[in-house]
Symmetry: C2
Subunit: 342 residues, 2 copies
DNA sequence: AGAGTCTCCGGGAGCGCTCCCGGTCGGCCG
DNA sequence: CGGCCGACCGGGAGCGCTCCCGGAGACTCT
């Protein structure tokens, strides 16, 4: 064997030669298999350290058919991602949870049409062992495209319009809305409006439904009491203004996200309405940086992205281990955190 | 050759057999090399399409020694990342710019001590061809650790305390601060305070220096006119309050970031100071979602993350092509965008 | 017509690793 | 003491790809 030049990366063969054992033994020692003598193991480990060896992942995954990497796909228009604190939290949680199980996160953004092709091509290229997907929009073509790939996949939140045969982890959006609105009803509010998120997404649809059903159950007519907004602060502010105009005597509002609630609070304050004196406000998300920091602190439906991602990762790991996990939705409970705004 | 079962992924060999050519020819056709007849090329392409072939990246990169993936490392405490709009913009820009040159972004977060080891291990594992690093903190050990790896690396902003021998793309922080403060001086302000970012980072240090020097050049004593904050909204608000207390007659403030400026505006408004009537406010970043959206809209030093990342990517690509790029800092110009707050 | 050139193609080697298989050596049992 | 079993190790095959090399035709030029 030609003497390897200094700047070439050492291979397993080099380590083995240096340690005076065979390539097989070196491999066994490094992957701590059984049937390696303590003496050999130590020599190999020392050799690896001395040579600064690190295994070539391409070669390894060529034979093991495992890459140790998991893709996290965020399918959402650019603007949304930038200021949606929930998405940021998801990225972070994904990184952490995957690191905990020894996997590397590969983040993919997919919002334009051309992204879809690139995303699919990347995923089928064998770069990753599995996928975690967040594709909240009903009309998103990505989830269907992913079904054709036979990559283990777990969805976070609703998978576009797919219902059966997929693994997904979602929060109890409708139940959360019910809790929120029930709380308002029980504290004596009667004119309970809502600012709903975009109705092209599953979660906001369910939250709106929860609001509506709870009102009906309480004998209140929901007609004219709802306004749709786009999950942004400005959108929330505008929707609140529209509601105040249409329903001047409203005494409570259930807002579909913290960010929109911040906007609603601003509008209410500008309009001289006291919260919670004149109008009670309850929102959804309970984002740690937003809900408790407002004036007044927001009552909000708590959902923890970390918990969601944790459940997704553990399902994915079971899938990767070849377990025959029954597909279906795993619904995580949410709980109302009552603060001063209601 | 045993008949390949349906759910196995087809290999290049399968495609070749299906097309009735050799593996070599199939490879040539797929990678559109020269010296393939149009006829063969077409047959191979059709076969690949019919079989749903996509090349095994592990095998490919084993021989080409290229992975087509670039790591983007964000070395920053968790809390900072969540609400720093600049970082979010950087991730996004990284994804886009890398996609444009046909590379996949692999995001790495690295904030705790144990992350450092994992990050380094991942990078030396040969998963990626190069690295883009954002490690603003002076004491960050990551940049030094990366020097030992012989991976092409480009830094975004200052690389901890490394100065020579690294490739980096930064903005003209000091020059930007000078522009901002000069603007204030020229519009007749004399008591010009500053809210500086964390002084364990290079950029805020340079911005503070720019403020100080400009004042001195204008014959103004900067003593007692500066306050340090942590780049957050709350931090900016608190620092503004401290300044108002200590320097009640201040008539302008240069804030080290948009986010802190939002906090400062809130404090000023609570204190009944009119902006820009009583106090002019100028900030840094010119974040599209923040600066123009405030009341009043903020005058801010404009820096475009996309531009920075673009420069980083192009330097990295040259490095990857084996070009002998001279190391050093590439300083991007910034410009003051004047709005109503000053 | 023979030499040279250019286009196209197939065979084979080899990237660095894992894993299977078979061999050796020592200890222990009947 | 022969046989067996378990611990340990080395050789070899092969993962799916790229790339080098040499060969087969077709064509041109002297």
């Amino acid at each position: 064997m030609a003497p390897r030049s200094e700047d070439e990366r050492p291979t397993l063969e080099d380590v083995a030669a240096f340690a005076g054992v065979s390539r097989s033994t070196a491999s066994r020692a490094l992957n701590d298999d059984a049937y390696v003598s303590a003496r050999s193991r130590e020599k190999v480990l020392a050799a690896a350290r001395d040579l600064g060896y690190s295994p070539n992942q391409a070669a390894r995954s060529l034979v093991t058919r495992r890459t140790g990497a998991i893709a996290v796909v965020l399918s959402e228009p650019e603007a949304r991602l930038l200021d949606d604190p929930y998405r940021t939290a998801v990225m972070r949680a994904g990184y952490r949870e995957l690191a905990d199980v020894g996997c590397q996160m590969v983040l993919l953004f997919s919002d334009t049409r051309e992204d879809l092709g690139r995303t699919v091509r990347f995923l089928e290229g064998g770069h990753v062992d599995g996928v975690l997907v967040f594709a909240p929009h009903r009309a998103d073509p990505l989830p269907r495209a992913l079904r054709l790939l036979k990559l283990p996949t777990v969805f976070g939140g609703q998978a576009a319009d797919l219902r059966r045969g997929v693994h997904l982890v979602d929060f109890d959006n409708e139940g959360g809305a019910r809790q929120a609105v029930t709380h308002l009803v029980e504290s004596g509010r009667r004119r309970i409006a809502t600012i709903a998120g975009p109705q092209d997404q599953g979660a906001p649809i369910d939250r709106l439904a929860g609001w509506r059903k709870t009102l009906v159950d309480a004998g209140i007519d929901p007609a004219g009491l709802s306004e749709e907004a786009d999950f942004t602060l400005a959108g929330g502010a505008k929707a609140m203004a529209a509601l105040l105009e249409r329903v001047p005597d409203l005494d409570a509002v259930f807002v579909g996200s913290d960010m929109m609630a911040v906007g609603a609070l601003r509008t209410l304050s500008d309009a001289g309405r006291d919260v919670p004196g004149d109008v009670a406000v309850v929102s959804f998300d309970d984002n740690a940086a937003l809900a408790p920091a407002m004036t007044p602190p927001l009552t909000s439906v708590h959902q923890d992205p970390r918990e969601q991602v944790h459940a997704m990762v553990s399902t994915l790991m079971r899938l990767l281990d070849g377990e025959d996990v029954a597909p279906g939705a795993q619904i995580l409970p949410v709980s109302l955190v009552v603060r001063e705004s209601s």
